[in-house]
Symmetry: C2
Subunit: 143 residues, 2 copies
Amino acid sequence: MGKTPRETNVTPSFTAEKLRAAGLRPTRQRMELAGHLFAGLDRHVTAESLHDEVVNSGIKVSLATVYNTLHQFTAAGLLRQVVVDAARGYFDTNTGDHQHFFLEDEGMLIDIPGDAIQVAGVPSAPPGMLVDRVDVVVRVRRT
Amino acid sequence: MGKTPRETNVTPSFTAEKLRAAGLRPTRQRMELAGHLFAGLDRHVTAESLHDEVVNSGIKVSLATVYNTLHQFTAAGLLRQVVVDAARGYFDTNTGDHQHFFLEDEGMLIDIPGDAIQVAGVPSAPPGMLVDRVDVVVRVRRT
DNA sequence: AGATACTTTAGAATAATTCTAAAAACTGTT
DNA sequence: AACAGTTTTTAGAATTATTCTAAAGTATCT
């Protein structure tokens, strides 16, 4: 029973280490959530969507814990928050330099690699301010 | 008592015409809100901030009406919605091509002229989708 | 195992926004 | 100016996403 390289970094001990490295105790719920989030390809979740997914997979976790965990993971640099919709908060497992398509009809995000897109001509930040990040959102809709 | 050119387009009749052209009856509250929004330079408001401002200027308008009106103005192309903060919805009187600085500490927006900034390399939209808009948000914070 | 600090959780609390349905205000016509 | 018909406004209830609270549970260290 072979494992693809992708699945390699999803062993419990690896996940536990990842959490410890972030200063978080590897509790059952954090392990489960991390398992869902970091098991394979990069993904975008909302608190609700992740909660549903985890609960449907038979694990008992409260929504409050999902919120807590998403924020803790974000603070630890394991996730990144994406603001595209006034109604919902999205979290992205891809914390590297990249941008997004946002499918407005479905409330879905698709990554755009950071090296594909370039933003030129950004004026210097107002006095006393520094640029934290430049976000590009390409809003698309069904034809 | 001279008027600057800027104030010219703020006469009641002009505003009323603007509303009629948008298919909206020029009611007292819509006139007041439009007066505050389109009186001078471009601006960014939240429902709450505009409501406070109008109420403090002595006019009686409900928050629900401010929400209704902001949405109607947006649907009519008089305003544009800006999504930068998961917590609040912003509306911009500048409906032309431009982008934004977002001062995260103060929840404040500053326009970046559309011809100042260029976005290159946007991949083509996923099949069956078309690009609605490309939003750039330059998030800045106090040094 | 016990002590201690950290976590989880149910449920209450917030906050922004939307909904509802009844009262008020426009508009075009007499 | 009053009328009829439609559109608006509004107070307050309702919704939704998210956060808070305090009590119960769990991880870690000795």
